[in-house]
């Protein structure tokens, strides 16, 4: 069963893109990563799914309903990011009680124990927490609520490395015992790669790829060698990125759709796999060269 279905969904802001032609479905009980650079439209997409924003075109359906203003979607989904609004003067223990009232699957014991593990007092008010603690709290709430659709938008902002690891581990463990549909957005894939089943890659408001992580790992190949040889070999291939190196060497990332016979013709070239995380960076590179180019141009002008 599909939990989320988007047909040409779009959300335009005044003078800005937001999300364009989003066309994808997400199956029940999967963990999907929404990956993209800052400002790619991750948050817009996720808020549209949560029913916070109203699409300006196309169709968005969550649990078979338009999420905007749907009580059913609101009751069965949860959107959490660092700005999630809770009263700053409410003690956390009470915040849990409110959630317990609203969410029938709420696991009070899990919430309390996780909170204790992350050394946050139940008596503390949310306003007194640091940014990382606040996100930890939101993460705990998202796990304990056991919502059929849980959306974490950049859940680990401000958390330190060990908390980050613990959080993702907790997420995975809880997901395994209570499978549900989870969306996690992040701009770096490497730390959540092991967690994810599927990936939605967004850039400039468009969904570039939507595929299982395993496929992304084999999506491309890096080919390095002398410039002439590489250029010759890649003539009819889909080039994703190109990196000039010193002494006439070049590395090209090519879509992994060539045959073994193709590969055999490439004498003297080195083939290496590209990690999913690197691949996502190459795919969302905006063809302006690297950051180095910005500085190179300055030097000569």
């Amino acid at each position: 069963m599909n939990v989320i279905e988007c047909r040409q969904a779009e959300k335009k802001y005044r003078g800005e893109h937001g999300i364009l032609h989003a066309d994808f479905t997400i199956r029940e009980n999967t963990i999907t990563g929404v990956i993209g650079r800052n400002g790619a439209g991750k948050t817009t997409l996720l808020k549209m799914l949560a029913g916070y924003l109203k699409p300006t075109g196309g169709e968005v359906k969550v649990f078979g309903e338009r999420p905007f203003n749907s009580l059913k979607v609101s009751a069965n989904s949860m959107y959490l990011d660092e700005f999630t609004v809770y009263s700053d003067s409410t003690p956390i223990g009470e915040l849990f009680q409110h959630h317990r009232r609203f969410y029938p699957n709420w696991d009070q014991q899990l919430a309390v124990e996780l909170l204790a593990y992350f050394s946050i007092s139940q008596k503390a008010v949310r306003g007194s927490l640091s940014k990382g603690q606040r996100n930890t709290l939101h993460g705990i709430i998202g796990l304990a609520a056991r919502c059929p659709l849980t959306i974490f938008d950049e859940p680990t902002t401000g958390m330190d490395a060990s908390v980050r690891k613990d959080f993702y581990r907790a997420l995975l463990k809880d997901y395994l015992t209570h499978p549900r549909t989870i969306l996690i957005s992040s701009h770096h894939l490497d730390e959540i790669e092991d967690l994810l089943e599927d990936i939605v890659l967004i850039d400039l408001g468009k969904i570039i790829l939507h595929l299982p992580v395993e496929e992304l790992k084999e999506f491309g190949m890096a080919i390095s060698g002398p410039a002439a040889a590489v250029n010759n070999w890649i003539q009819h291939k889909t080039v994703i990125a190109r990196k000039e190196e010193a002494s006439g060497m070049v590395t090209v990332i090519v879509k992994n759709d060539f045959t073994a016979a193709d590969k055999a013709t490439a004498a003297g070239l080195r083939f290496s796999p590209v990690s999913a995380s690197d691949m996502s960076i190459y795919l969302t590179n905006r063809e302006k060269g690297g950051i180095d180019d910005v500085f190179n141009k300055r030097q000569y002008s």
Binding site: F83, V85, S87, D88, S89, V125, G127
Partner: protein, 238 residues
Amino acid sequence: MVAVITLLPVIMIGLILVFFMTRNKSFRRQTSRIPLKYMLSAYVGILLLSLVTYYMIGQSEEVAGREIESSVESEDFDLHQKIFNRQFDEIDDKYYFGQEKIGLDSDELSIRFADQNMDTYSYNIVVTKDPDVKGEIIIDYYRVPFSINGIDISEEFEAADMRYDNGEIIVNNLTRDYVNLEFAEFQMPIPGSQFSDDRSNRDWNFNFQSGGDFYHIQIPENTQLNYDPNVPIYEFEN
């Protein structure tokens, strides 16, 4: 009070401005660190305590004044005019406060003021020689009550005392002692006053109405009346 009301819009604008300057997520929603349940129970406790005490002590004994049964506002002048025009029949009953009859056995009557300080007299005495009156003096007493915020406090002012003695009326207390009065008043809330007639005289400001006393002395026609021309006695000509 007026200052408070003029200040309200200013405070309001101020708060709205502060609110808009600090809106959104950075807006800290915190007024006080005292836990709400303590604050709330303490406040409710104080209020209920005063409620219980109020009903335990019952009503206050030290009450001044009495209720004015009917409206007498701004009719002082009316009464004055009617008296001096000898239209006694037309005077409303609500000003009529009583009558005294004194047997008269001589042809001569003098009116004497016990107190000679003429600066602060506050009674009006009118005298009529009435052919219908035989062998007696009839004193009619009219009064406009002194009132504060619609409450009659005339009792606080001593009434004049007239004594007849051997062909002479002696008026005591005609000049009043200086009266210094202090009252406390608990007013009903101003929004509620629109439903009420009883205490509707409550004004936003202090409302005092000065009263007055009028004595109408009727004597037989043939009586010889003597009084000091300097005292405020008005005798109607026949």
